[in-house]
Structure formats: structure tokens, C-alpha cells
């Protein structure tokens, strides 16, 4: 009996091996030289009807859903407005939503589904760098389009992604200029969450500091979502005697950081903190009185004084209640829908190649002010704004750059950045 059984197991395995053997092997990288050229899936986007599909891919569950839910709302608001205004090339936008579940692999999986099964013309979403990194190969190998709405660490420029948030030269570098020129800072303590954006941002800051004679007196990282090391970090910050703190902490660690910061007797007067990841919606959770007077660097605040922003804020509050606030990533997401619309209309086609070709120079009067797409690196020119948190928990602009800054994700225009390691694929 055992023999019989073993033979059957063996037969199954042999069958498996046979199937494997008879499966024609696909292209080898050596055969074609360039891997990406081989066997790309044909686009299945259907533009024959009177509507066209787009995908919204944001985390609606898991830790990142706190932030990404608000982005989803502004994307939906933009789509509604576009549809009410006659759609894109006369076609109504039909939205397919997916949950990224705060999980890079889920982002990759759902992006594939949106492209291959739902046949969407473009996908809007993603927040964390890891979600973008996970989706990037999916969009490149399927030759599809992603609109990514969050400021990020730069040093990337995929032809299949449009980056509508700031890159480092539109946020980090203006913030450093401001600290150096306006506040006279000569020493900095760097505090960040332990992931790619803070680490890359701090690498840039250190290169900048070396060039401009700013002393970096400390550099500390707290694991994402953790608060256990915050007391140690604040101890170190206080002991460092820095002129200011450059804060790239993300999410809940900020709550703990600012509570401890205030409790040991530090404030914006004694040692200002400039944060690049705290927007309007995070302020209440941290506590307005702990943040009041501290600095932030973004490209948009709810208080920005443009007619477009007045409309945007009003529409948003009407849709989601008077307590709803708007923030930079939300505005960048809102803008991304209009930018895509502009590109499609400039191209007169939904085809990816046509849209890519027509992208350069497409502009939009966004709530943050005028923005323009750079066709080379797929980022957009935007104005940098330094703000201070006010007593109402909103952020007032205290300084702005002279008009939109051209995006430079690879920092090619900065001599001091020449020595930095860069991703050779894009830079």
C-alpha cells in the first residue's frame, strides 16, 4: 500500500515537471538585450463609448488610511467637477476605486488589476514612497500612467509617473534657504522617522549644510509609528544646543515629539522646529497649542489667498462638512486630475504615448497658484511656501519663493549635490 501511494505522488510530480518542461520559455534578457521591450501587454483602454475609466488607488484601511482618505476625497471632488463640466474630451469619467490597505504589495496588486482588468486610462493615488516604488514597475511594464500626489524624496523620474507633489528642490531646499537667510540658523538638529524620505532628505540637508557652513549637531530617527524613543531624541535635541530642528517625523511620532518638546520647556522661540510632514489635518491630533508658532514647508496651505483656493475650500467644506480642512497633498491630488485632463485635451487622445508627448508645458491655475508640467522629468513647477501654525490650527504663509520653482528631482542644478549618490536609472 505505501508503495502504491508513493508511486502516485511520484506520478503527480512527474506530471508537474512535464508541464513545466513543455511550457515554452519566454524571452530571456540576453535574447532581447533590453528586458522591458519584450512582451509588453497591450493596453485595453476602451475609449469608444461616451465614458472613460480612471482608477483611484488609496489606502482606505491600515495605518496610512488616516492621510490617504482625505486624498481620496479631493480626487473624487475633482472628478465630480470635471464631469459636471462636461468631462474629458466629451467623455464622462467613470471611477474605479481600490484600497491599497497601507501595504506596498497590495498597491502593486491593485494597480495591476486597475490596468489589466479594469482597463483604466490613468491611475491616481499612492502616498508612501514604498507604495510608489511598488507600483512603479507595474506602470512601466504595462506602459500605463500614475499620478502621484505627495511630496517625496526626489531622485526619481519615471516616464510613467507624473509627480504632482513637490520634489526636494521645491520644499527642502527652500526651507533650508529660509532657515539660513531669514532666521540666521547656523546649526541644525535633524529628527526624522526611520524610512526613505527622512533619510534621503537628511542626506540632502547634510550636503547643503556642508556647502553653506551650517553645522549638523545631531541626527536621530524614530521607527515609524513608534513613540518609545521620543524622550531620548528630545533629550538629545535639548542637549545639542542647535539653533533649530529640521523635522521629518511622520504621523503619530509627531504627537509624542511635540508633547515632550513642550514639556521639557522648548518652544518656537527657544528652538524653532521646521516640519515638512505636518499638514493642516495633523495639527488637531498633535494639539494646536504645542505647535503654535512652529514652521512648516509646503506648496499649499488652506489659507492661500487665490480665487481658485477659495472655490476649492468652499467646495470641499460643502462636500465634507465645515470641520474639513484642506492640505498640500489633497490639493496636489485635486490638481493632478485637472493636469491629466489638460494633457489629454492637449493630446486629443487618451493614449499613454500621446499624453506623454503632449505633457510638456500643460498648465493649470491650481488652488496653490499656477503650476506647469515639466515634460522631461514629469514633475511640475510650483511655488514653495514657508508657513507658521496659528492659534486656529491653520497655517499662515510667512515666506514664499519668487514664483514657481522648476522641478529638479535629480538636483542637477546644485553643485553641492554633485557628489551625492543618485539612482542611475533616472538621474
Amino acid at each position: 500500500m505505501p508503495k502504491l501511494r508513493r508511486r502516485h505522488v511520484g506520478a503527480t510530480l512527474t506530471a508537474a515537471a512535464l508541464v513545466l518542461g513543455t511550457t515554452a520559455c519566454g524571452s530571456r534578457v540576453d535574447d532581447t538585450g533590453e528586458a522591458s521591450a519584450a512582451g509588453r501587454a497591450e493596453s485595453c483602454v476602451d475609449t469608444s463609448g461616451d465614458s472613460v475609466r480612471i482608477g483611484l488607488l488609496n489606502s482606505m484601511s491600515g495605518t496610512m488610511s488616516i492621510s490617504e482618505t482625505t486624498v481620496r476625497r479631493s480626487l473624487e471632488l475633482a472628478v465630480e467637477e470635471v464631469n459636471a463640466d462636461g468631462g474629458v474630451l466629451g467623455k464622462q469619467l467613470e471611477v474605479v476605486t481600490e484600497d491599497g490597505a497601507s501595504e506596498p504589495t497590495v498597491f502593486a496588486e491593485r494597480a495591476t488589476k486597475l490596468i489589466q482588468s479594469d482597463c483604466v486610462a490613468a491611475v491616481f493615488g499612492g502616498w508612501t514612497s514604498s507604495s510608489r516604488k511598488a507600483m512603479l514597475p507595474v506602470f512601466e511594464s504595462n506602459d500605463a500612467l500614475l499620478f502621484y500626489p505627495v511630496q517625496y524624496e526626489g531622485l526619481e523620474a519615471s516616464q510613467n509617473i507624473f509627480y504632482t507633489g513637490a520634489t526636494t528642490n521645491q520644499q527642502i531646499i527652500p526651507a533650508l534657504d529660509y532657515l539660513k537667510d531669514e532666521l540666521g540658523v547656523t546649526s541644525l538638529h535633524l529628527v526624522g522617522s526611520d524610512y526613505v524620505f527622512p533619510r534621503t532628505a537628511n542626506a540632502i540637508i547634510k550636503a547643503y549644510a556642508e556647502e553653506h557652513g551650517i553645522e549638523i549637531v545631531g541626527e536621530d530617527y524614530e521607527p515609524l509609528g513608534s513613540t518609545e524613543g521620543i524622550q531620548t531624541i528630545v533629550n538629545r535635541v535639548q542637549g545639542s544646543g542647535a539653533d533649530a530642528v529640521f523635522n521629518t517625523l511622520n504621523g503619530d511620532s509627531n504627537v509624542s515629539f511635540f508633547a515632550q518638546y513642550a514639556n521639557v520647556g522648548l518652544d518656537a522661540e527657544a528652538m524653532p522646529v521646521l516640519s515638512v510632514s505636518i499638514a493642516e489635518e495633523e495639527v488637531p491630533g498633535i494639539g494646536v497649542e504645542k505647535l503654535e508658532g512652529q514652521y512648516t514647508a509646503w506648496n499649499y496651505y488652506q489659507t492661500v489667498d487665490t480665487p481658485e483656493n477659495e472655490e476649492f475650500v468652499a467646495a470641499f467644506k460643502e462636500a465634507y462638512g465645515d470641520d474639513a480642512v484642506t492640505s498640500d497633498p489633497m490639493e496636489a491630488a485635486y490638481t493632478s486630475v485637472y493636469l491629466w485632463k489638460g494633457m489629454v485635451e492637449a493630446a486629443g487622445s487618451f493614449d499613454v504615448a500621446d499624453v506623454q508627448a503632449a505633457a510638456d508645458g500643460v498648465g493649470f491655475d491650481a488652488p496653490e497658484g499656477p503650476v506647469t508640467v515639466n515634460g522631461d522629468n514629469h514633475h511640475i513647477a510650483k511655488t514653495a511656501l514657508i508657513g507658521r501654525v496659528n492659534a486656529e490650527g491653520l497655517i499662515d504663509t510667512v515666506w514664499s519663493s519668487d514664483g514657481p520653482i522648476d522641478p529638479d528631482p535629480c538636483l542637477e542644478g546644485y553643485d553641492w549635490a554633485a557628489g551625492m549618490d543618485k539612482d542611475e536609472t533616472y538621474c
Binding site: 513545466l20 530571456r28 519584450a38 526611520d194
Partner: protein, 381 residues
């Protein structure tokens, strides 16, 4: 004897059905996207097969399989990055790093990479297992330590921005041992490899379970102290199952990488590690096919249900855990048997009645693993 016959026949037909479905029906019926998804589920199921052996047969509740899954996955990812970068090249992601860490070089060669995927987790499991089991750390202690090790591993990866990509992990692979990953034919090949490996793993566990070792493992689960007095060192018995489970998890992780295209610390921490267990519990931890089928079903349900009703899946996941583990410790498969058993043995202890599972193999009742025989250490002076 007839029960044995029935058992082997049902297991046998299970193999055949699995082969027909995996190699015949699925590739024909499913779209490329769904097939890729199935391949991904198969990788998770490999981890489940190992857990079935360690936990179901051996009573070791390992909450840290993410550690081994991650080791296999990262070694594979490192190899793929290096082959993309070409000879002596450096992977693209290391934007803020200084040089290539020496241990990356170990996995440039395809042979050492494959060996590493198996040997590194096996060695680590051997060391951890010997350290823990020799000192008779078990039950809850072992569960918590294994969970903490997965948590620490995830943190370690996150803090290594320069060498393993930090929280972003490693992604953007272009080839798999020379085959372009963008080619659908090659992706299909990956699916077949995953299916073949999974079936081979199930066959291996099948052989282990029906061997004398399998009986010994069950004996250790139900009475570790007693086994000691028969002249065995239970630590060695447990370590073998633990190592096998670790290797299965690592191979699952290694195949996960080219199929999904990314590995990041969020795939190896506490939450995914417990996630691997749901399917095993649902399918029936102590059965041969339960872990595989349960894992596939749970992966599928998770993917389908959360595609649009997000929070529902979280509730359902929690509820599944609660209902199955608390009331059906033998898994869904034991539902019918449990009902029959309850009717037959009215005075039976609750929870034990779920123990009479599918024919052929004695099925553990949920209480078995942790309940040491009361006599083993008791007794008056």
C-alpha cells in the same frame, strides 16, 4: 485498516485534483492578472504548509514566520537586483549608500543565491530552535519570542536604508535568472514553478507525517515530558519540524519576490506573521491539506472582499479567527465531524469533541498541543 485505506484514497485524490486544477484548469481559465494573484497566494500557502507541520503536528505556535519568509525573499531580491545591475554593477536603489555591502556579493551567483535561500533560514532556525527548545522554552513563551523576533527583524530591515532599502524594501526587478519578468510567458512559468514547489512541499509533509518521525512529533506535541523518558531528546525532534517550516517559509518568500515584484518590511513584521496563521487555523491545523486550502481560501477572500468593502474584511478576519479557533479548533473541515462527534459523545469535554477529523489521520483536538500529561511532573513527595 479500512480507515487507513479511505484516508490514503482521499489524500491521493486530493493530489490529483490539485494537479489538475493548478496545472490544467487555472492557467486556462484565469486571466494573467488573476493567475499572478493565484501565484502570490501559492507562495503564502507554502508558509502555511510549514506552519501546519510545526504548529499542527508539532504544537509549536510560531508567530514569527515572517522572519524566514523575509530572509528568503530578501536573498532572492538581492540576487535579482544584482543580476539587473549586471556584472560588478551596483543596484539602482542605493542612492544614499556608500558601497555595496560585502554580503550582497555572496548572492550574486545564482547557485549561492538558491543555496542561501535554503541554508540561511535553516541555519537561523536551527540556532534559534536549539537555543529555545533545549532550554525547554515552549508554549506561550516560544510564541511570544518568535513574534518578537519577527518584529525585531522588520525593525532591523527598516533601519538598514542603505543596504536593504529600508521601509521601501527592494523592488523593480527586471529578470528572473535571466528571464525577462515583463514577458507574460515567463510570468506563467513562475506560476508553474510556484504550483510545482507547493505540491512538492505538500508531498514532503505528507511523507513526514506518515513516517515514524511524524508519529514522534505528535507524541512530543502531546507529551513532551513523556517522550523524554522514552529516551528521545524532544528538542531535536522539534527543531527538525521548525527548520522545515522555516525553509518552506523562505522558499515561499523567495518566489513571492519575482511574482509580486516587491519585498518590504511590511511583509515580514508581526501582522503578516500572524496573518499566515489564519488560513492554517481555518483550514485545520493538524490536517495535511487544511493549511494549504485554508490559506488559499483566506487569501482569496481577503483579496476579493477588500477590493471594495474595506472595513468589512477586517471585521470578518477577526471574526474568522475567533469563531474557528474558539469553536472549531479542527478547522472548517472538521465542522461536519464536530457536529457528528457532539451528537455521539454527549458528555464529552467541550473543545475535545472537535477532535475527530477526516478519516485516515488522527486529528488533533485543539487542546492537545499545550496540554502536557498531568502526571508528567506531578505526584506527591
Amino acid at each position: 485498516m479500512t480507515r487507513r485505506w479511505a484516508g490514503s484514497a482521499s489524500v491521493l485524490s486530493g493530489y490529483l485534483v490539485a494537479a489538475v486544477i493548478l496545472f490544467g484548469a487555472a492557467p486556462v481559465l484565469l486571466s494573467d492578472f488573476r493567475l499572478r494573484l493565484l501565484a502570490q497566494f501559492l507562495c503564502v500557502a507554502m508558509v502555511a504548509v510549514g506552519i501546519g507541520l510545526a504548529w499542527g503536528s508539532g504544537g509549536m505556535l510560531t508567530l514569527g514566520q515572517g522572519l524566514f519568509f523575509g530572509l528568503g525573499a530578501y536573498i532572492m531580491a538581492i540576487h535579482l537586483q544584482l543580476s539587473d545591475a549586471g556584472p560588478a554593477g551596483r543596484p539602482a536603489f542605493m542612492v544614499t549608500g556608500s558601497g555595496l555591502p560585502w554580503w550582497w556579493e555572496l548572492f550574486r551567483n545564482p547557485v549561492t543565491a538558491v543555496l542561501g535561500i535554503i541554508a540561511v533560514p535553516a541555519l537561523l532556525a536551527l540556532l534559534l530552535g536549539l537555543g529555545v527548545f533545549r532550554r525547554r522554552v515552549k508554549g506561550a513563551y516560544f510564541a511570544i519570542l518568535s513574534q518578537a523576533s519577527a518584529a525585531a527583524f522588520a525593525l532591523l530591515l527598516i533601519s538598514q536604508q542603505n543596504t536593504v532599502g529600508g521601509s521601501n524594501g527592494l523592488s523593480n526587478f527586471r529578470q528572473f535568472f535571466g528571464f525577462a519578468l515583463s514577458d507574460p510567458v515567463n510570468r506563467r512559468m513562475l506560476y508553474f514553478i510556484a504550483a510545482g514547489v507547493l505540491i512538492a512541499m505538500v508531498a514532503a509533509v505528507h511523507q513526514l507525517r506518515r513516517s515514524r518521525y511524524g508519529e514522534l512529533l505528535t507524541a512530543v506535541r502531546d507529551g513532551e515530558e513523556r517522550v523524554r523518558f522514552l529516551g528521545y531528546d524532544p528538542a531535536l525532534v522539534k527543531v527538525l519540524a521548525y527548520v522545515v517550516a522555516a525553509v518552506f517559509a523562505a522558499v515561499g518568500g523567495a518566489l513571492f519576490v519575482p511574482i509580486v515584484g516587491i519585498i518590504s518590511p511590511s511583509n515580514v513584521g508581526v501582522v503578516p506573521s500572524i496573518g499566515f496563521l489564519i488560513g492554517v487555523a481555518v483550514g485545520g491545523r493538524a490536517t495535511l491539506l487544511g493549511p494549504v486550502l485554508g490559506s488559499l481560501a483566506v487569501s482569496y477572500a481577503g483579496s476579493t472582499l477588500s477590493e471594495n468593502v474595506e472595513s468589512l474584511w477586517i471585521y470578518l478576519q477577526g471574526l474568522l479567527f475567533v469563531l474557528v479557533v474558539a469553536f472549531l479548533p479542527g478547522g472548517i473541515g472538521s465542522l461536519g465531524a464536530a457536529l457528528r462527534g457532539r451528537r455521539r459523545a454527549v458528555g464529552d469535554v467541550p473543545g475535545r469533541s472537535a477532535g475527530h477529523g477526516p478519516p485516515g489521520r488522527p486529528l488533533v483536538d485543539g487542546g492537545g498541543p499545550e496540554r502536557a500529561p498531568a502526571g508528567a511532573r506531578s505526584g506527591g513527595v
